[in-house]
Symmetry: C2
Subunit: 111 residues, 2 copies
């Protein structure tokens, strides 16, 4: 269940244009045009990237008049961060166990 959410989130983060959009939105809301302005691509391309970001939950938007305002939602970002952190912790935990183990056998691996 959470698997698919991580799929969408990491996939959304795997593109430099989409990360640039998130970097912009982390500094505050922006319209679609404002998001598109620094990017070297057509507006429809930007909108497609935006759809990927919205599908992942990283970004939400609402339209008022003729301008759509986008804002970042850090919750999806935290989910991804937590997954990474858990893997890193598990890796470190294993190193600790390994160290404790080696202390008992000062002159080489027991097995």
């Amino acid at each position: 269940m959470a698997v698919a959410a991580l799929d969408l989130t990491f996939h959304a983060l795997a593109d430099p244009a989409r990360r640039a959009m998130i970097e912009r939105l982390s500094r505050g809301p922006a319209s679609v045009s404002e998001l598109a302005q620094p990017l070297a691509m057509s507006l429809p391309a930007v909108v497609q990237h935006l759809a990927v970001l919205e599908a992942s939950g990283l970004v939400a938007s609402q339209k008022v008049g003729r301008v759509r305002t986008c804002r970042m939602d850090p919750a999806a970002l935290s989910l991804a961060e937590q997954w990474i952190d858990q893997r890193r912790r598990e890796w470190e935990r294993r190193l600790c166990r390994l160290g404790e183990h080696l202390k008992q056998f000062p002159d080489g691996e027991p097995t």
Copy 2:
């Protein structure tokens, strides 16, 4: 430059099979067959996923005799985690500034 590295890392993390492989490797080294065993796909498919993981630097492997042993490298993971953390921090920093601002204008937005 670091952009391409994040591309590769997030792309590597965007697939459930590859995340499963990393989860396995966070608990210790494993052979290709061991990585493949819980996955519902052919061995060549697993090897292709492994190539993606190695290209991102998340995993390294070496062959001894006929068995290739894979181990996780947490450095690439940290790089991704740092990018996420920076975005979250910037978002939070902006919330703080916004709060300070609103304190000066208790009855609505100044602009």
